[in-house]
Chain length 341, copies 2
DNA sequence: ATGAAAGCGCTAACAT
DNA sequence: ATGTTAGCGCTTTCAT
């Protein structure tokens, strides 16, 4: 049952020899070049089949100058926010015969750039998923990485396609939802400071405050993980807020977990909203009110933008998905006793 | 701000020319070969730096016969069970300078083999994460894919390292837990029939039944997703079971969701246990009793096994992680009224 | 229609 | 210590 004695895989030369033709002819046949006599082509195909030959992707890549592979950089492979994106991207790319290289930057802003540049060299293009780096660093990097697609982050230039969720609008809608419940004092548990989507949301908050002088929203530095949300509970309770806006569902769930341990009722004492609508948001207790971001579609569209770029088409317009607000059990009317405190 | 006029990246020849040395010397310097005069080496490094040169991974791969990349095949990128594995694998591999190619087989048993073979050609080795294919198909495939590491599935041969969770033992412990609560009539919501880990668990159930004549465990065909668990609720309720063992946490959560909609109390009316301990298992209501599988460690160990293989070392012994039983709120004593029904 | 040969960018014998 | 050269496996002019 062992494999053939000589384990090295067959080369085009083996096939050529066996079929009694030149390398070029084999190459032509394998690539479906019609300028080959059908009889001879058949001979070549037979030889290839007998030898179980298939061309080395590596050698082809070198000769053709393309790898049929793209890379995607994410801050953390285990963060559920990225799973949908990854799946959508990977399946869409696969349909076009492309492969996916993944790079996990381990949330390290410092390594992100190096990782991207290094990974980029092994493929034809790169998808950056919500990079943490500063705007000033991003610009030159995008130039260097081309073709590149940006997910959930604005590119300064039009030459980089963007596929993103409309965080601002969704956040405003979430605030409105709380406002409708009577909440006037809120906290926002911010993501990492470098995060672009975080910046956009803070901007949205500022605008909201300008338009609603009866509302107060305190910004609390936090993070993107469950643990961050958990640890923020103390500080949230120290405020007079009756509603908390978490950077994402993970943070919201961490917060709710800590609140629950302290016997603080949600939404009785405080309402909590998340962001993303990760698969389990609806199954926790109480089910999490959140803004549903279509991760799989983000991934698919990212591929389509990349595909356009790879085929020399002009970068398409930025695509924004409007998240859908999922009103669930973690939000409710402000209690009178709370409202007046 | 545009990049250099000629956008093609620099080659070793550019550096050689600039430094006034031969290609070989540049290659030696770039690879840290000590047999180069320090002064000349410095000149080369300077030239390389000025040209912002770095070697083409593609060309190196072809010349060296290795890509510094391994692939991992998973049935579904969005299934949380695999996230820990992916992260552990990817980070561990990165520490050794290796890259990860991911392939999502979209749960298709038919495509799995082809996908693996095709992907394998682009890298140095492959990690198969719980392949669904039949044992008979797996054997020849493993031979063809070498080097290969198998996660959560036994290889027939010793030449393929295995890194897995000990599903049998854990399942028995879960059953014991329910038994201790007085449950005697159970259902097992089975995974896909082809699944090896499913087969092992059914085996474990048979043994358990042999040893405990007072227990009945009915096996219900189900699947691996939330939706499968959800749809199984009806059938579960149609049995007289007071406890349900789900193939994984997703299935358990789907089941619990459907039960909750029907007003069936967990664990009051029926106890439910999952498997894997995905991050949110503890945050649903009631928190899910489950067997905690250390995904990240599975991933890390898979890399270590692969690393050994890549370095010509003999395949290490199979590694089994004993899952830890997490007793949470979804399990409880059988109600007297239920016990006698 | 087919073949010979020159790349693709790099490494590693083999000279010197 | 350095340079020359022949690969790695494939594609693609350019001849014929």
């Amino acid at each position: 049952m062992a494999s053939s004695p000589n384990n090295r895989s067959r080369t085009i030369a083996d096939v050529a020899r066996r079929a009694g033709v030149s390398l070029a002819t084999v190459s032509r046949v394998m690539n479906g070049n019609p300028s080959v006599d059908e009889a001879m082509a058949e001979k070549v195909r037979a030889a290839a089949a007998e030898l179980n030959y298939s061309a080395s992707p590596l050698a082809r890549s070198l000769a053709l100058g393309k790898t049929n592979t793209i890379a995607v950089v994410v801050p953390d492979l285990e963060n559920p926010s990225f799973h949908g994106v990854l799946r959508g991207l990977s399946r869409a790319a696969a349909r076009d015969g492309y492969h996916i290289l993944i790079a996990d930057s381990a949330e390290s802003v410092a390594e992100e750039k190096l990782l991207a540049v290094e990974t980029r060299r092994r493929c034809d293009g790169i998808v950056l998923c919500a990079p943490r780096m500063a705007e000033a660093d991003l610009q030159p990097l995008l130039e260097e990485l081309k073709p590149v697609v940006l997910i959930n982050r604005d590119a300064g230039s039009v030459s980089t396609p963007v596929v993103a969720a409309d965080h601002q609008t969704a956040l405003v809608e979430l605030i409105d939802l709380l406002y409708g419940y009577g909440h006037r004092s809120l906290v926002y548990l911010a993501g990492v400071p470098q995060s672009a989507s975080n910046a956009r949301r803070i901007e949205a908050i500022r605008h909201y405050l300008d338009d609603h002088r009866d509302v107060a929203i305190q910004i609390l530095p936090c993070g993107v993980s469950f643990a961050c949300g958990y640890e923020a509970a103390e500080r949230v309770l120290a405020t007079s807020a009756t509603g908390a806006l978490a950077f994402n569902d993970l943070v919201a769930m961490g917060l709710m977990s800590a609140l629950s341990e302290r016997g603080v009722s949600v939404p009785g004492h405080i309402s909590v909203v998340g962001f993303d609508d990760i698969p389990f948001a609806r199954y926790i207790t109480p089910p999490l009110t959140t803004a549903s971001v279509p991760g799989t579609e983000l991934g698919e569209q990212s591929w389509h933008r990349m595909w356009d770029l790879l085929n020399g088409r002009a970068p398409g317009h930025a695509i924004f998905f409007r998240p859908r607000i999922e009103r669930r059990g973690s939000t409710g009317p402000v209690r009178l006793s709370e409202a007046v405190r």
